[in-house]
């Protein structure tokens, strides 16, 4: 048993449901007790989904416990098949059904006889894998199922597309900024003259899966989701894949060069160097931002990074390599894939933390006292408690991390977004200086609630004029500090002398 207040990755079935609900016209039936269908709430609320989430539960109740599911699961599958005509129904085991050890495969086989659509059992073990691993596995399973089916029916299309083309693998429901990333990747591919063959699983139809081998290569933008499917396609159809996450200027260039090489190997004479150069120097703002005096002020500031493998690794590299920020700790909760993470960030940070215990991460942040944190919603709350700003870069996330506006993390527009996020997370340079001059950071005691409340203290002409010279955004603070100083000493007129005395006193 483990005492847990918070978890970074969800249970396995969430991963399977994310895949099922990403595809078009695929329905998932959970073998689960009442209340386990909160995935529907998450999808409906977080993604503000307009359609009903295609997930239902075949309820495990007392009767099932006593007598087994018997006809219930089969009936629920065939009923759903008739009601909604899905192309595929995925029977999804949960922690409860794992222990019941019912022969779910048998239910699937029986239900298949009466169903028009396909029926499949998600092959995930609840006690061995988490949400991310289960999603990866389920996507692989679906892809394999439909390619085998097509092969058996001899429906596999021959050859490759005429022009260079790509499958983008791993975009899914409830993924961190996945929708925006997908748009950005499509734009990038079109800039490079590459056709997008299929995007899976988001928005894809299972009927199109047989076309996957027609692409020249696969692009797997996220470390956590899609690699299994890509490796399967490599093994079966000799399709190369690119698994470099195009997040940050340097990594985006690296990703594009890898694509260039793969296409070149297949006979396309492409040269993306000029495109990379042009984007980096003149189109994307991130490289210029690194050079600008704004970013200079960030030099050597301390940051802690924590998240999933993809985002924590990419962010660490961006901060250290592209912005000159001192990453004191980089960490991931993807314990099962820790070696990859260590290898990726080893040279870019002082310390690596592999853990899914939020207490451990919170303690590390408190010990290191960084100027900013880049983490999940959990780290944001740690930051709130410790008064350290936090930019959210990875799931688990809340509704505010599903923005309506366009906010990719990948590609060249992604580099702009990340630069904004970093810049806004640190206390702005100029403000930082002024706060230092006028008495440190936020004072806890607030005298009046309003920013510039009328006060009973009298500022004489000179002092008022001096106050007006203070830049607007710290003027209120200077005014408050001075007035507080005067009140404490029973001074009722504020002169220049009082002002300076206040500055000295508060500074001391």
């Amino acid at each position: 048993m483990k005492l847990a207040y918070w978890m970074y990755a969800g249970p396995a079935h969430i991963g399977t449901l994310r895949i099922a609900s990403s595809f078009k016209n695929v329905h998932a039936i959970m073998h689960a007790p009442l209340g386990d269908d909160y995935f529907n709430v998450m999808r409906s609320m977080l993604e503000r989904e307009r359609n009903f989430t295609p997930v239902t539960a075949s309820i495990v109740d007392r009767n099932v416990l006593a007598r087994g599911s018997q006809e219930k699961v089969v009936d629920n599958i065939t009923r759903k098949d008739q009601e909604e005509n899905p192309d595929l129904i995925i029977l999804t085991p949960t922690c409860t059904s794992s222990i019941l050890q019912e022969d779910l495969q048998n239910f699937v086989d029986r239900a298949q006889i009466d169903s028009k659509g396909d029926v499949m059992l998600a092959d995930v073990n609840h006690y061995r894998v988490n949400e991310l691993q289960a999603a990866d596995r389920t996507l692989h399973q679906v892809v394999e199922f439909y390619l085998n089916k097509a092969r058996k029916k001899d429906e596999l299309p021959e050859g490759k597309t005429e022009k260079p083309s790509v499958n983008i693998i791993g975009i899914s429901t409830l993924g961190f900024h996945n929708q925006h990333d997908c748009t950005e990747l499509k734009r990038l591919m079109s800039d490079l003259g590459i056709e997008v063959n299929e995007v899976i699983p988001e928005g894809a139809s299972v009927h199109n899966l047989k076309n996957l081998p027609r692409a020249w290569f696969n692009l797997v933008p996220y470390r956590e989701l899609g690699l299994m499917a890509a490796r399967y396609l490599e093994q079966e159809f000799d399709m190369p894949y690119v698994d470099i996450t195009p997040m940050g200027v340097v990594e985006t260039a690296r990703c594009i060069r890898k694509i260039q090489q793969i296409l070149y190997d297949q006979g396309a004479n492409v040269d993306y160097e000029e495109y990379i150069n042009n984007q980096t120097l003149y189109v994307s703002q991130a490289a210029w931002f690194s050079r600008s005096i704004d970013c200079q002020n960030l030099t050597g500031k301390k940051a802690v990074v924590f998240g999933d493998n993809t985002h924590a690794a990419a962010m660490t590299k961006i901060l250290a390599r592209e912005m000159g920020i001192h990453v004191v700790l980089a960490g991931t909760y993807c314990k099962y894939d820790a070696d990859w993470f260590k290898e990726q960030v080893g040279e870019y940070c002082d310390e690596i933390l592999i853990s899914d215990d939020n207490g451990e991460i919170g303690d590390a942040i408190a010990r290191l006292e960084p100027a900013a944190i880049f983490g999940t919603q959990m780290e944001r709350h740690v930051g709130k408690r410790l008064n350290i700003p936090c930019g959210v870069i990875a799931a688990p996330i809340h509704i505010q991390n599903f923005p309506i506006g366009y906010h990719p993390f990948l590609g060249y527009e992604g580099t702009n977004q990340v630069a904004d996020l970093v810049y806004n997370s640190f206390t702005l340079g100029m403000e930082d200086h002024l706060l230092e001059i006028f008495g440190g950071h936020d004072t806890k005691e607030v005298i009046t609630k309003g920013i510039s409340a009328d006060s009973d203290l009298n500022w004489n002409k000179e002092a008022q004029a001096e106050l007006n010279k203070v830049p607007g955004f710290v003027r209120g603070k200077v005014k408050r500090n001075t007035e507080k100083f005067a009140r404490e000493r029973g001074i009722d007129e504020i002169t220049l002398e009082v002002m300076y005395a206040a500055k000295e006193a508060v500074g001391a």
């Binding site: 005492l3 209340g35 909160y38 709430v41 359609n51 009903f52 075949s58 009601e83 222990i99």
Partner: protein
Amino acid sequence: MTLAQEPTALTFECETGNYHTFCPISCVAWLYQKIEDSFFLVIGTKTCGYFLQNAMGVMIFAEPRYAMAELEEGDISAQLNDYDELKRLCLQIKRDRNPSVIVWIGTCTTEIIKMDLEGLAPKLEAEIGIPIVTARANGLDYAFTQGEDTVLAAMAHKCPNKAPIAEEEKEERNAISKLLNFGRKKEETKVEDSKYINHPPLVLFGSLPDPVVTNLTLELKKQGIQVSGWLPSKRYTELPVIEEGYYVCGVNPFLSRTATTLMRRRKCKLIGAPFPIGPDGTRAWIEKICSVFGVEPKGLEEREAKIWESLEDYIKLIRGKSVFFMGDNLLEISLARFLIRCGMTCPEIGIPYMDKRYQKAELDLLEKTCKEMGVPVPKIVEKPDNYNQIQRINQLKPDLVITGMAHANPLEARGINTKWSVEFTFAQIHGFTNARDILELATRPMRRNNNLKELGWDKLVKEEAKV
């Protein structure tokens, strides 16, 4: 519509039970806040933990006094010893939080692997010196708010039988009533004490926010009825004394196990009343309690009329409109009864579980309300089937659907007004004073749509998507 088509007696149906609701372990979210010195330990899997984390949103970050005892493969296959594991975690909780009680919440998994929590608790309790209350709030047996019912039923066993010394006890209870009359002087309290009529002790059960507790207690005080205690109280150490022959009364419709436990195990007399939700319900609740103690209620009629008057601006918005309850928190009967009194019609009340004995008075009031308002009585659907319900909603086109969050956005996108049922669980809806809050919730979609109606943005899904 002919009269013959309108059913006049309540009809009960039971569907497949394929409906969406919260897992009953969600009760820890409000109970740990209510019982200030408690710690709730949910013994379950990642699935349970992920639910609490997501359903309870930001509350999780306030260093909650609840946690998961997350079962691992070794626990399932009994390679690890349950007792030792629980002892380790409970000692850690004792060290870090020092609670006055640890509540173990049994889940589906502990049911299936038959972990004997009730057996382990007394042993461990003796060993670590903290009371342990065991509640089986699992999704195999219960829905959403019924979780509270299982916890309170377990707590009912822990209520002291008899005050140690009568004198001291009286002093203590005075202290409680003093708290309720905060600010008033002791002498005054004593004077007011004498205003209570002589009646057997009354204990109310159901977890409510403290302002509502004060409010309902004062409401009864006006009738000369003294509330001897509440189950639960603000602290575990202040659980009320329950002796044989005490009277008990529920404030929420989902507390049937607690009621049964109080009657059968603690030999209390249950006052079966409608629940104090809405001014009509509150009045009926007080009247019933008064009648049991032989008190002639004073000023209730005027009080109720006044509240109705003050609600008129909201009632205007919903009068003559229809409301459909998909059912997920067992407050449905009381809310429907109140909304019908407000002038709405209600074709269907979905409800997870219907205890016709515990809710008898509420059901009677519902029937009476329908008759008086001249509207057909609703069809009550136990263990509803959400898929079928959505077909019915498509046909009936109700003006308001009260539903869980899984269906709210998809229905809104199809031009159907919805209100999340969960909000009724967390809002203050009891007593005369809070009637306005119920309508504030129920009319919000109407008010929002009045603001937006010029825009023509009703249906925001492309094809009439099949459901």
